[in-house]
């Protein structure tokens, strides 16, 4: 086993290495191959520093090395740094295994031929049976380009003791939501903790409203650029949103807070609910976590329930030089023993249904809740084009701060949509 021992240094080193490899490839036009390409060593780039997950990856490496006699090198990279570096290293100096996000973000790389088709591995190992519907998250044109990892279910979260103290009940439909809003305000707490400094939580709220009001097909048409941002179907979404904004539902000055700071208000009992994924618990003090309860976003229109369920994924880059060995590693990593160890520290929902039962009550709540869901989207910035997503995130944040600018914002979003996806057929 020859992974890099120090976490802090590894991030910088990995970045430098991938930049250096990129420069070398450019300089020599791909003629000079690095000497280590022929050796039986695979490189893995992992995009998190969660200690328990790294241990699970190492356990998989040990299994892999025992089974194949080859070596594996584990490089750790910061989650955000990986998002920008991956485009460099997939083209020049690709590792043999990398971690990414399924859905449209994966498809962006599949379209450019940067991820390897691993349908053979999926078929040989019979992953389809263990994964069920989750397999669709990594499937493009009925071929698989990665293996799905932990899923994050989005919805409302509240603390049981805070709700009991103020005699509040979790809202399940629109009227109850408005009643909850008044009750929370008169109890002197913020109805919904919300931090939009990092933009994306605002888009998550848009997803919730659009999935409840227009449903999954309409939502995905909008994500795929096949529907105008000026479409009358969206009027109801923004009307409901504006009603909440004007009723003082959201944390005041939410653009100043990131989600961790907003979660702190939830943890202190100064806010009633928060709309986010189950990683929310990382922002709460340990003693509050046992009180945390998940409840789906309230029903608005009488349609089946659709949810945002974003799934991470693991891939073999198309430029990997050891694709066979990489498949062997994926087999070891995806074995139930290693995979369940990998998910234990995160509180995310495992993709395989044949793993040992989870001990985290929050995960079990989400798993139960997912059984009644009619269909899932991923998340606004994972479902739509990245360029569109950036414009949308800014637009939704602006709408939440300045709802009176709705028409300007939507016109601007439609202009961006037209630039990216082209004009709609009349």
């Amino acid at each position: 086993m020859s992974e890099t021992p120090r976490i802090q240094g590894a991030t910088r080193r990995t970045v430098i290495k991938s930049i250096g490899a990129g420069a070398a490839t450019m300089a020599f036009g791909g003629l000079a191959r690095p000497a280590f390409a022929q050796s039986r060593t695979i490189t893995i780039i992992f995009n998190s520093n969660t200690e328990g997950q790294i241990e699970a990856l190492r356990a998989a490496i040990a299994d892999f090395e025992q089974a194949t006699g080859a070596k594996a090198e584990l490089n750790l990279m910061d989650h955000e740094a990986n998002k920008t570096a991956i485009r460099n290293y997939l083209v020049a100096g690709a590792p043999d295994i990398c971690f990414w996000f399924s859905g449209n973000r994966m498809k962006a790389f599949v379209d450019r031929g940067l991820f390897d088709d691993i349908s053979d591995l999926v078929a040989d190992e019979g992953y389809a049976d263990a994964l069920g519907g989750t397999l669709s998250a990594v499937t493009v044109k009925s071929k698989q380009y990665g293996l799905p990892l932990a899923g994050t279910l989005w919805g409302n979260y509240y603390l049981k003791d805070v709700f009991d103290k103020h005699n509040l009940t979790p809202p399940t439909n629109w009227d109850e939501l408005m009643a909850y809003n008044e009750a929370a305000k008169s109890a002197g707490i913020t109805p919904l903790a919300f931090g939009s400094r990092e933009l994306w939580p605002a888009a998550g709220f848009f997803d919730e409203l659009n999935l409840r009001i227009n449903g999954l097909d309409s939502h995905m048409a909008l994500m795929d650029g096949k529907m105008s941002y000026l479409d009358p179907a969206l009027t109801a979404v923004f009307d409901h949103w504006e009603e909440l904004i004007k009723a003082g539902f959201f944390l005041e000055n939410h653009t100043s807070y990131n989600w961790q700071e907003a979660a702190a208000l939830l943890g202190q009992g100064k806010a009633g609910m928060m709309n986010l994924g189950n990683f929310l618990k990382d922002g709460l003090p340990a003693e509050a976590i046992p009180n945390l309860v998940f409840v789906p976003f309230p029903k608005i229109v009488d349609i089946p329930r659709y949810e945002d369920f974003s799934v991470d994924s693991v891939h073999i880059p198309a430029n990997s030089k050891n694709k066979e060995l990489a498949r062997e590693y994926l087999k070891a990593f995806y074995a139930p023993k290693n995979l369940s160890a990998f998910f234990a520290p995160t509180g995310q929902i495992p993709p395989r249904n044949d793993l040992p039962p989870n001990t985290d009550p929050l995960v079990n709540q989400a798993v139960e809740s997912l059984k009644t869901v009619a269909g899932t989207a991923q998340y606004y910035d994972r479902d739509t084009d990245p360029d569109m997503a950036q414009a949308g995130l800014n637009g939704f944040q602006e709408f939440m701060a300045k709802p009176e600018r709705r028409q300007d914002i939507l016109a601007r979003l439609e202009k961006t949509r037209t630039r990216i996806f082209g004009p709609l057929d009349a």
Partner: protein, 294 residues
């Protein structure tokens, strides 16, 4: 052999010494700048084929409201940052006094220069956070409610510049402290004999000797203001809704998040031209001033 060496060593040795930096400068600065300009005429997502669109990116930029917001913010940065050299000078003169304990004061003023700008940005973000930030606590001590500076589209840039100017003042202070140490004792003594003190001494005797330092302080401050990026990224990510973006941040967002390298390169080119015009104008003034003083 030694004859050839003797004949050529006058140019071979300097060339060998200069070559590494020339090559590095050529590859890292000149070539990549030219490549950026070339990219700015294309529609390019960063991996796929580049498509020539001529001045398309520039035309779009001129119609982009965000571009004018960024340009205006760059101007705010530049103007407020110009306070750094005079404030740095004032503090340098203050801490240069021979008073007990001044060393400690000096090092306190020096501290922000040691901190990474990202750390400064994070600390100021905490100060500005509504409800539990230091600013909010200070206001509430007087029964007032602090404005949410980072949520106000009109105040946010000023709030960030205040955070960013703190290390910049310290930097100017260090420059001036070095300059003050090399002041000519003779000239000051002569001035004193002629009865100069206070403002007169500062304006007519001390400042003229610090002209070179002032030029450097202003040039570096201006460049620092125009390339400001890290503070914005840490404190607001350009928000709320793009109102604190500057050209450098807009370039980053368009290239990295929106995958529009051509558009980002066009913004970079505009920023490059602005800096070039400023520096050429400024250099010409320095050269004229030096010729005049000789």
């Amino acid at each position: 052999m030694s004859l050839i060496w003797r004949r050529h060593r006058t140019w071979v040795v300097p060339t060998l010494f200069i070559a590494p930096s020339i090559i590095l400068f050529g590859v890292v600065i000149v070539a990549s700048s030219l490549q950026s300009v070339w990219i700015s005429f294309h529609d390019w997502d960063g991996f796929g084929p580049m498509q020539w669109i001529g001045l398309g990116n520039y035309e779009e930029l001129l119609g982009d409201p965000q571009f004018y917001v960024s340009l205006k913010n760059n101007l705010i940065w530049l103007i407020i940052f110009m306070l750094a050299p005079p404030l740095g000078l004032a503090i340098a003169l203050l801490v240069n006094q021979q008073i007990r304990g001044m060393r400690i004061v000096k090092s306190l003023f020096f501290v922000p220069l040691v901190l990474a700008s990202v750390a400064v940005g994070i600390v100021f973000t905490w100060v500005y956070t509504p409800q539990f930030g230091l600013l909010a606590l200070a206001f509430s001590a007087f029964g007032q409610k602090a404005p949410a500076l980072l949520s106000d589209e009109h105040l946010v840039t000023f709030a960030i510049v205040i955070a960013a100017i703190w290390p910049q003042i310290a930097f100017c202070m260090v420059l001036y402290l070095a300059g003050i140490n090399s002041l000519s004792e003779d000239l000051i003594g002569a001035g004193r004999v002629d009865g100069a003190r206070g403002w007169n001494m500062l304006y007519h005797v001390v400042l003229p000797q610090l002209t070179q330092v002032t030029f450097i302080a202003i040039a570096i401050t201006a460049i620092g203001a125009l390339r400001s990026f890290d503070m914005i990224s840490v404190m607001t990510q350009g928000g709320p809704f793009g109102s604190s973006q500057v050209l450098a941040y807009q370039m980053y967002e368009q290239s990295i998040f929106s995958y529009r390298f051509g558009y980002g390169a066009a913004i970079a080119t505009i920023l490059f031209i602005i800096m070039l015009v400023f520096i050429l104008w400024y250099l010409s003034r320095i050269i004229r001033a030096e010729e005049w003083s000789n």
